[in-house]
Assembly symmetry: C2
Homo-oligomer: 125 residues x 2
């Protein structure tokens, strides 16, 4: 077997190109290419003043804030987030991560299922 | 909706009581009780010199090392692990985490699917 142990500091992140995104890069840490049958783990870094898209989709996120300062829109309100927070974003809930403008940015892991709708691939899994 | 944002420092961990475990505590950070449909995220802390069981099971782990020093048995060999490592433990692979005897312990997140075998609950999900 190929042993998969990848450090977040050594992962090559690429720019997230989606409508509504500002200053975000991402790397798939474990995903379908590794044979992961159920879920993928992505690393996301949002630079100070940047944000992920304000959107919703038919699959959930489970998120771990590694470091940085910012907030999340969830349940219709903004909530501050900090290193060590684990966040559950249910399917179909509008959400958005923002990094504080005066901080060091926001770094987090975001897990998603690799499939939805009985087998369709989830993007970036 | 109930917004789930839980910090790892505030989670109440309980002792892991399984054969082959030494000095490990665990807290479910997000799980089936939160309505998570696909996977659960648990926090595990292994004290210096402690270890998780050497075992295998029919579901995978995806692990993030938060901090500490130790190693993992995977693919028949021991590999050092450190903060920032993301690890994929495929289903049916023997594995064990050990915290170094002279370190501060090993703290990690361990994600598992909430079901296996077409619907049976996975333990501690």
């Amino acid at each position: 077997m190929a042993v998969v142990i990848r450090n977040i500091d050594e992962a090559e992140r690429t720019e997230v190109r989606m409508d509504g995104v500002k200053g975000a890069t991402m790397a798939i840490m474990v995903g379908r290419d590794d044979g992961a049958p159920n879920f993928a783990v992505r690393q996301v870094v949002v630079e100070a003043g940047g944000h992920t898209p304000r959107h919703h989709h038919d699959y959930e996120h489970e998120v771990f804030i590694i470091s940085g300062e910012g907030d999340i829109l969830l349940g219709g309100e903004r909530h501050p987030v900090r290193g060590g927070d684990v966040i559950y974003v249910p399917a179909d809930e509008e959400h958005q991560f923002r990094a504080s403008t005066d901080g060091s940015g926001l770094r987090f892991l975001c897990a998603v299922p690799v499939t939805r709708n009985c087998g369709d691939p989830v993007p970036a899994s």
